[in-house]
Amino acid sequence: MHFDELIGHLGQHTVDGLSKGAIYALIALGYTLVYGVLRLINFAHSEVFMVGTFAVLILWNQLGVENNPPVGQAILFLVLGLIVAAAASGGTALALERIAYRPLRRKNAPPLIFLITAIGLSLVFVELFGQVLPKLLGGVLPEAFGRPRQIVGMPTIIQQETLFTIGNTAITNIQLIVFVAAVAMMAVLDWFINRTRYGRGVRAVAQNPETAALMGVNQERVIMLIFVLGGIMAGAAALLWSMRFGFTQNSIGFVLGLKAFTAAVLGGIGNLRGALLGGLFLGIVEVYGATLFASNWEDVIAFVVLIVVLMFRPTGLLGESLGRARA
């Protein structure tokens, strides 16, 4: 137990946790949106994120991005990366919905069947990027798909440096970008769901599908919309991840997806602002825990937090609601 370390650098650990949690929160939005409308855990959402990171990787490789490009170029690469990752992730999420979930919904299948299908899909994607694509595209894109299942590095777009220090807390440029970008994306999504016509449709279907259908809301379109929105958020998370950590692998989705789901449950699944709160909370708890014990206990801490929260507050910190209330 390293209490001194934790208390002494509390600010630093909080900042680290926030920038870590921001990425969890972005992925958590995908779980929360789908769950809020369909009451379905889209287990394959972690793979939607993974596809996004590979899209960024391939894009940067094709553009021939080198380490530490000039600022103008860096911004261009990031914006292009965001577009490509959002398109790839959104497309993947939509494909999952169309190919797998829709036939099941038609049959009125029980929830467990959805979940098992989602697990199968997740496995298919992990293997596709770990085994099949390296064999098929290994020659065309050796940087992305060289050896099967390997970790692939990406160029450093932004050199990490300390922007300013408050007390003994140093805030780096990457941390700031990740946090601000994530919160901005979430603010846009929140506005979209709460203020626009489409968003009203989403909330209506979440509240009561039959009544919404009677009022002329096209349910299928709403379902497609939430999958795409969740995918876009995962794509944004994929870009931020690529920028911050600079690597990807076919299996990164698993643990990250589990954490993001934990974050969604923590905040109250189906609740957009809850996802933000849950993500940030989980990020901070993990960093604190890793400081107190050791960094290899980080994952255990996340799962223990999940179990404890579900025991005492099964509806999460802010309660479950996409349709009801404002959030």
Binding site: N108, P111, I116, G120, L123, V300, A302, P314
Partner: protein, 385 residues
């Protein structure tokens, strides 16, 4: 393409039903005779030399030893499938962390039975025992079952009140926790180094062991299949008892079951504990056969493979899940050239089975009826689509 699969599938199912009906139409002694012949065949299997059936063998060299090893893996996976079937198929609780119990079973024989384990060393020091002392295999078996049952109850107590899909994620987390603890708690489990010299029925592995050696897998298979047969018998009795009916009632409708005087939480906990014990037994056999374990052998993929066995085979039906387990353990070995793609194939199989035949390859008759009802409901109310 999909239509062709569907029609082939329909023919297969009608064949299965005819076989099933014929079997049930046989007299009691005919059934007993058939069963005895089947059991005898199971014991004969590792020696398999019947012309025409030898292509089943998986040996890389003619008359090699690999076939018995594969059969052993099939047998312990069948044990896992039977245990998980109690949890998933009968009680309807999706447990994605079953690997955790498997790992606890394997680690209990390693920690208490091997002279290289920190636990045994600590006991030796505390009680001034000779450095060759360790807990005997038979007592380890007992410890494994007790420990896994306790861990099943410990996991179930806080989590079984949760909704089904939450439970799935929490159990997945549990499996990971067990693996990470095994990796990080070096003082208890030797961490990533692993534990070697895990004993078998004859004691620690050594060249003097006459029956349960490291090379010949046949005795191990016979041991495992004996456990499988005993457990099949016990679980079958349980399934057709009051407890089994209570599980089905809870699975179909928890509230209705509670109104009828079946306390759902109690029976769910029982299912969890019994399922856990079977997983632990399987892990125990795995540990003693391997003689060496480390945390990387218990990753989450294996947990998902276990669920795939139950689901693909036909959850709720013991024959179905056993078939699923045998197929999923055997096929990658037989078609080793494609072994790289096995996870891909498992994933695709899970998705296809769920979309085309959610009741599995050999469906439980009750479960098939339930799914049919739901499909009929969906057709009556097209507004939901």
């Amino acid at each position: 393409m999909i239509d062709k699969i569907r029609s082939a599938d329909r023919r297969r199912v009608s064949l299965l039903t005819t076989v099933g009906d014929r079997w049930r139409a046989l007299t009691k002694w005919q059934q007993a005779l058939g069963l005895a012949a089947f059991v005898a065949f199971l014991y004969y299997l590792p020696l398999l030399g019947v012309p025409g059936l030898t292509w089943l063998r998986t040996d890389s060299i003619e008359g090699g030893n690999n076939w018995a090893g594969v059969l052993f893996v099939c047998a312990i996976y069948v044990l896992v499938a039977i245990g998980l079937n109690v949890v998933v198929g009968l009680a309807g609780l999706l447990d994605l962390g079953y690997i955790g119990f498997f790992a606890i079973g394997a680690y209990s024989v390693a920690l208490f039975g091997s002279v290289n384990s920190p636990v045994v060393k600590w006991i030796q020091q505390e009680f001034n025992l000779p450095p060759t002392w360790a807990v005997t295999w038979a007592i380890c078996l007992f410890i494994a079952i007790v420990l896994t049952m306790i861990s099943g109850v410990l996991l179930g107590w806080p989590t079984l009140r949760l909704r089904g899909d939450y439970l799935a994620i929490v159990t997945l987390g549990f499996g990971e926790i067990i693996r990470i603890v095994a990796r990080n708690a070096t003082g208890l489990t030797n961490g990533p180094v692993g534990i070697s010299a895990i004993p078998g029925p004859e004691g620690a592995p050594s060249p003097d062991n006459k029956v349960f050696g490291l090379i010949d897998a046949k005795p191990w298979y016979w041991l495992a299949i004996t456990f499988v047969l005993i457990m099949v018998f016990l679980v079958r009795r349980l399934e057709h008892s009051r407890v089994g009916r209570a599980w089905l009632a809870v699975r179909e409708d928890e509230d209705a079951a509670a109104v009828m005087g079946v306390y759902p939480f109690k029976f769910k906990l029982w299912a969890f504990a019994i399922g856990a014990a079977l997983g632990g037994l399987s892990g125990f056999l795995f540990g003693s056969r391997n003689a060496f374990i480390d945390p990387t052998q218990f990753n989450a993929n294996l947990s998902i493979l276990f669920v795939a066995m139950v689901v693909v085979g036909g959850s709720g039906n013991m024959i179905g899940v056993s078939l699923g387990a045998v197929l999923l353990a055997y096929l990658p070995e037989r078609f080793r050239d494609f072994a790289d793609y096995r996870w891909l194939v498992f994933g695709l199989a899970m998705v296809l089975v769920m979309i085309l035949r959610p009741q599995g390859l050999v469906p439980s008759r009750r479960r098939a009826r339930e799914l049919k009802d739901r499909a009929a409901e969906a057709e009556e109310a097209p507004a939901h689509v």
